[in-house]
């Protein structure tokens, strides 16, 4: 190790990878992906990975991506629930990796719900 910059570079690189090694806290924004058999069959895994990738690339702290079981409406999978502290839960349906980018950019970063993917009464 020849310089402190080298040490800092290692720290920054590994820290991003270890972001998920922290239990979710009450102050965190939670992105929960339905990962039951139905979700996985509909393509939830690439969606989950896309979320993780985006959170890492944008260095979003306090945003945790977790998984859950079946959300009950298997025909609308992959489903994603977003919990922002102090706000109502938002449920998104039929999410693709492309939609993930939109949700992160508009909802998580800018605070605007992406209405085209939000679940509706007539779904």
């Amino acid at each position: 190790m020849k310089s402190i910059e080298e040490l800092k570079a290692i720290k920054a690189k590994v820290q991003a990878e270890l972001n998920t090694r922290d239990a979710v806290g009450d102050a965190d924004t939670r992105i929960v992906v339905g990962m039951a058999t139905c979700g996985i069959a509909a393509g939830a895994r690439p969606v989950l990975n896309a979320f993780l990738e985006e959170v890492k690339n944008r260095h979003l702290s306090g945003v945790k991506v977790t998984q859950t079981g079946c959300l009950g409406m298997c025909r609308l999978e992959p489903m994603v629930e977003v919990y922002v502290p102090g706000k109502d839960k938002v449920t998104y349906i039929k999410i693709t990796p492309d939609a993930v980018k939109k949700i992160i950019a508009e909802h998580i970063v800018n605070g605007n719900v992406v209405s085209e993917y939000v679940i509706r009464n007539n779904n």
């Binding site: 402190i4 040490l7 998920t20 090694r21 058999t37 996985i40 990975n49 998984q67 079981g69």
Partner: protein
């Protein structure tokens, strides 16, 4: 991209519970399910809740699975990892949320709530065999800060102002020790780490080395910079194979990354660390004996002064600190002395790690701020005494310490308060005893240990402890008189005052403290020839009472056929044959056998 981290405890406790097999099963299943790169399994250091091991924690959900078996791994993978459904039946009971899916936070459970993990901060968090994870959690940043922003004197001053004191037992101020060694002129100086943890029941230092070995290496390099040394030695017992292996990996990695070796951070500072294995002699935990052993000689203490800071290892100025002391140093350098001195009591700063053992629900490793009461440790964190028994005493400081009676359970634990009641902090073993423990027998146990471990160099310790043990044996076999007790006390003070090193000077403490707080038990042994707890075999006998229905079970269980009697008639114990093993009383379903 990693979405789930699976942390498996790789401490000695969980390893003996086959946690390595669990780790390997996870790896197999992760590969089989094509989850490589998405799910990462990691062997970590000790989580502290050894009683519930093997422990597995899955993040980011923070699900704390306890007493996991290899066969449970399939379910955790197929349910939790693949489908996101937490396996409730394996969760640590206190973290289960009734009727809900999530888990409640581990830091809110009674075991962790009142703890403060500084020395153990990375244990159960990082992979100790991966230096990059240590770096991610601020590792080696303190060394960088010390080397580039601070003078050696500023490092020493920070340590002094922090109030950090030696965690190995005596509690000497660490900064002062470093100052002495710094002020002694000389080109060659040494930095030593005492990892010869010898107290029965103590495993704090082992857990730090197993869970966070780089913290100790970093602190030793900082110490080297402060006093002007380029060579460190870690003296660790060979009975700690996992700790030794992780230290070896850590030293190798630190050298590869240039964090040990020549010209660290381009500052021209050189520092190297070598491991020396001890063969397990208790006396080698004493500083002068330890250094004699590193030099390649038989581990025997030598008189002080000269102190090691002046004339230590190979007759050069040397500092010797304990593992836990070192584990605190990097954070003090990083966060400053005020941060550290704000924790704890007036004279004892920071936290202390205790190895909680004996008659306690949550056997394990706990770290609390100095000044925490014994009651908090035993009742809240430790979960109390199992089987509804009553708390009788806690033994701190191992063979050098003393017994704290139940009447002093509200004592705030720090260096001074423990000394004041005739015990000592020691390295941090904390053994809990319930009403079934005989205090004379406990004193005898510790004295047997010191008699065995006395190195034999000085007479007061070699012969004095042996004679003291013989007097104690008289008490437990019923041949003692009141004069014996007086003689014991006199001998205790003689050994304390005249022994060469800490081993002999503290060896009588278990006897003195039990004599002080449990005099009535000694008197019962001496005057009534009775052991109130029913432990000392010479003083107890077994008798069959009127409740006996003649089921013959005791007669069949007795290993020496000392019980006679016909079916459906009251049985009798032949006192000549009886070896007082107690098997009959344990097996009797009618409570018909009394221990008197």
């Amino acid at each position: 991209m990693i979405r789930n981290h699976v942390l498996i405890c790789g401490g000695t406790g969980c390893t003996s519970g086959k946690s390595r097999n669990i780790y390997e099963r996870f790896n197999t299943l992760i590969a089989e399910n094509n989850l490589t790169g998405e799910v990462q399994s990691v062997m970590t250091g000790c989580f502290g809740l050894c009683a519930l091991g093997p422990v597995v924690v899955v993040y980011p959900e923070g699900a704390f699975y306890s007493q996991v078996k290899e066969a449970d791994v399939d379910e955790i993978v197929s349910e939790h990892i693949i489908k996101g459904r937490i396996v409730k039946r394996l969760l640590y009971q206190e973290t289960v949320k009734e009727g809900e899916d999530g888990v409640s936070s581990l830091s809110e459970t009674s075991f962790y709530k009142k703890q403060m993990r500084l020395a153990l901060r990375n244990c159960g968090v990082i992979n100790p065999e991966n230096i990059e994870e240590y770096i991610a959690y601020d590792g080696y940043a303190a060394l960088a800060k010390a080397l580039t922003e601070m003078t050696p004197q500023q490092v020493v001053d920070t340590l002094k102002a922090s109030g950090l004191r030696g965690r190995g037992g005596a509690g000497f101020p660490t900064g002062n020790k470093w100052q002495f060694a710094k002020d002694v002129p000389g080109d060659t100086k040494y930095v030593c780490c005492n990892a010869d943890e010898g107290d029965p029941g103590a495993f704090m230092d082992r857990s730090v080395l197993e869970g966070d070995p780089h913290a100790v290496l970093e602190a030793m390099a900082i110490a080297g910079y402060a006093i002007g040394s380029d060579q460190g030695y870690i003296y660790v017992r060979a009975e700690y194979p996992i700790a030794v292996a992780r230290l070896e990996v850590a030293i190798k990695q630190a050298k590869e990354y240039g964090l040990l070796g020549d010209n660290i951070f381009g500052t021209g500072f050189n520092f190297d660390v070598e491991i020396r294995l001890g063969a397990g002699a208790f006396v080698c935990g004493e500083e002068t004996a330890l250094m004699t052993s590193i030099e390649g000689n038989r581990g025997e203490p030598r008189p002080r002064p000269p102190f090691p800071a002046v004339k230590g290892l190979f007759a050069k100025p040397t500092i010797l600190n304990n593992v836990e002391t070192y584990a605190n140093v990097p954070q003090i350098i990083l966060k400053g002395s005020e941060w550290f001195s704000a924790i704890g009591t007036e004279k004892s700063k920071g936290t202390k790690v205790f190895a909680l053992g004996g008659k306690i629900q949550n056997t394990g490793l706990v770290e609390v701020p100095m000044g925490t009461t014994l009651r908090t440790i035993i009742e809240d964190i430790g979960g109390g005494i199992p089987n509804g028994k009553k708390f009788k005493s806690a033994q701190t400081g191992g063979p050098s310490g003393g017994c704290i009676p139940a009447s002093l359970i509200d004592i705030a634990i720090d260096y001074e308060s423990l000394l004041a009641i005739g015990s000592m902090m020691g390295s941090g073993g904390l053994i809990v005893m319930d009403e079934d423990s005989c205090m004379v027998d406990i004193a005898k146990f510790f004295l047997e240990f010191t008699v065995e471990e006395s190195c034999g160099k000085c007479t007061p310790c070699r012969i004095g402890t042996k004679r003291l043990l013989e007097l104690l044996e008289k008490v437990t076999n019923g041949s003692a008189t009141l004069a014996t007790l007086e003689e014991m006390e006199r001998l205790c003070y003689y050994i304390k005052d005249n022994s060469l090193c800490g081993l002999g000077q503290t060896a009588p403490n278990p006897v003195l403290s039990t004599l002080k707080y449990f005099k009535d038990e000694y008197l019962a042994h001496v005057t009534e020839k009775r052991c109130p707890a029913g432990v000392c075999k010479k003083l107890i006998s077994f008798k069959i009472n009127e409740k006996c229905v003649g089921c013959t079970l005791c007669a069949r269980k007795c290993p020496v056929s000392a019980i006679n009697g016909k079916v459906k008639e009251k049985h009798m114990i032949d006192k000549e044959k009886c070896i007082k093993c107690g098997v009959c009383a344990e097996n009797c379903k009618f409570k018909a056998i009394d221990r008197v």
